[in-house]
Symmetry: C2
Subunit: 295 residues, 2 copies
């Protein structure tokens, strides 16, 4: 009898993430090293966890959901690599480690980001993925992710962010930016998990609502932590928003009101889970833990 080990979700996700990053062509070793370097940089793996949890909540199995969970993390990772480049935020450090382009040079970092985006779509459409999920669910998830990560999703949010940095932005502009930039992939993760688990359209809409609330409250928490945390705890210098004169939720409303907004959005996210019949404790706990995170 095959002994199966209970892995926690992050181990499950990470082992799957690296399983798609094998390469036996030595001419492109450096590219794969660079891709693995940033995928390995850790983080909360929050987007893939949302795929798994929504899939479970709707009756899906982990093996079907895992390639889609990985796709989310590859897209997130590519966006961080490109975001750190000198022509963007010009950040030398990411999560306490030198940024990809510092280690592998700008050209390779650019291409590693490009290749991670392709890889996301490659694994969602791979024959073994489609055999499990079915072509129709697979293609619907591909479309969801493509929409939420592209010009009218995450990348559009980046563009708005670049514009907001140059001026005193309004609340609406900051909100639009974050709903696309941070919210895009979180909404995609929740919706894709729900699709894969077999949710109906009204449940899929509620998964998106949960994702939208979590995405914005996540960003408000980021703004709060940029003021209240320490360099050590956060893994990057705090106070950078203030230094860059960036309009944030905190600069608009102050910390107390922001804390209240986080709590309200978290409540709203948790309320959206009422539309699902099964036990949604895991997703409720993730929402609460994000609202109370210290980093």
């Amino acid at each position: 009898m095959k002994v199966s080990f209970l892995k926690n979700d992050i181990e499950l996700i990470e082992s799957s993430l690296f399983s798609y990053l094998n390469n036996d062509n030595e001419l492109i070793n450096k590219l794969f090293d660079s891709m693995r370097y940033s995928v390995d940089a850790g983080g909360k793996r929050i987007r893939p966890r949302f795929v798994l949890e929504f899939s479970r909540l709707c009756g899906g199995d982990d093996d079907t959901a895992l390639p889609f969970a990985c796709a989310l993390e590859y897209i997130h990772t590519y966006s961080l690599i490109h975001d750190d480049l000198p022509c963007m935020d010009n950040d030398d450090m990411r999560r306490g480690k030198p940024s990809n382009h510092i280690v592998y040079n700008e050209d390779t970092a650019l291409l590693a980001g490009d290749a991670l985006q392709s890889l996301a779509f490659e694994i969602m459409s791979a024959p073994e993925t489609v055999d499990r999920a079915g072509a129709s669910k697979a293609v619907r998830c591909i479309n969801t992710l493509a929409c939420f990560c592209g010009a009218k999703g995450m990348v559009g949010g980046q563009v708005i962010d670049l514009e907001n940095e140059k001026k005193e932005a309004t609340y609406e502009q900051v909100l639009e930016c974050d709903d696309l930039k941070t919210g895009g992939l979180i909404k995609a993760a929740c919706v894709m998990g729900a699709i894969l688990g077999g949710a109906d359209d009204s449940q899929i809409a509620m998964a998106e609502k949960y994702g939208k609330c979590i995405g914005i409250s996540f960003q408000i928490m980021d703004d709060i932590l940029d003021i209240t945390s320490t360099d050590e705890e956060l893994g990057k210098p705090v106070g950078s928003d203030l230094e860059n004169n960036k309009t944030t939720y905190v600069s608009l409303f102050g910390i107390e009101k922001c804390r209240q907004m986080v709590d309200e959005l978290t409540d709203e996210a948790i309320k959206a889970l009422d539309s699902f019949d099964d036990d949604s404790t895991a997703l409720k706990n993730i929402a609460l833990s994000l609202a109370n995170r210290k980093k």
Copy 2:
């Protein structure tokens, strides 16, 4: 009665290309301007034409094939935008026009490239595309393009190209680079057209063979034209390979032998068309015109 106008293929492709680039959110107008600028830069539209012609050869209809044809051109366009960036080839001009980052700055050019890649996958998986093609063919085309454009395809070829520029490369290294970098998308185009038209596996393999031969002969022609053409005719400075001490087919074998290789590869490509029952004159003519091009 609706009057229908006979458009030539390039008009058909270009009208479809721009139909996916509409935007009504003024906060991201600049991003869409930048995307349209490079899509508008012309070129031979050879990759989308291969999708259409292979689809037709195998009995497919143009309306089904067009979104996939556009996807190829978006991926090609994103690769050119990223290729021209200062951290890559640092080219200020492309097809006789200032490069994207010269007009829109590096940050927007980077993001426009990223968004064009997402858009390619978005339109291949869009509900109206999938309704026509069927989910199973759509997902197979998505996988084909993702594989041929990613780390083990076009992007891998770029990495090998960057390495080859730093040394005296061997024939094998130059060939591997071009088969991935130039050949990747051309093979993808031919294979996707064949899939959409309903070709069987042996015909799909022959479509890939045609694409492989065309891809390499296309690159050899590029190397020849870099020596024998003029700046005006080519739309960019000739002699750049020589100036950069780049190992090319011409530097390895001389012009006469290269000319012969182009002819042999073109013959081989045309021979691969024998596997198809219908009239393949159009694809034969494209092969011949590419072998005799002046730019």
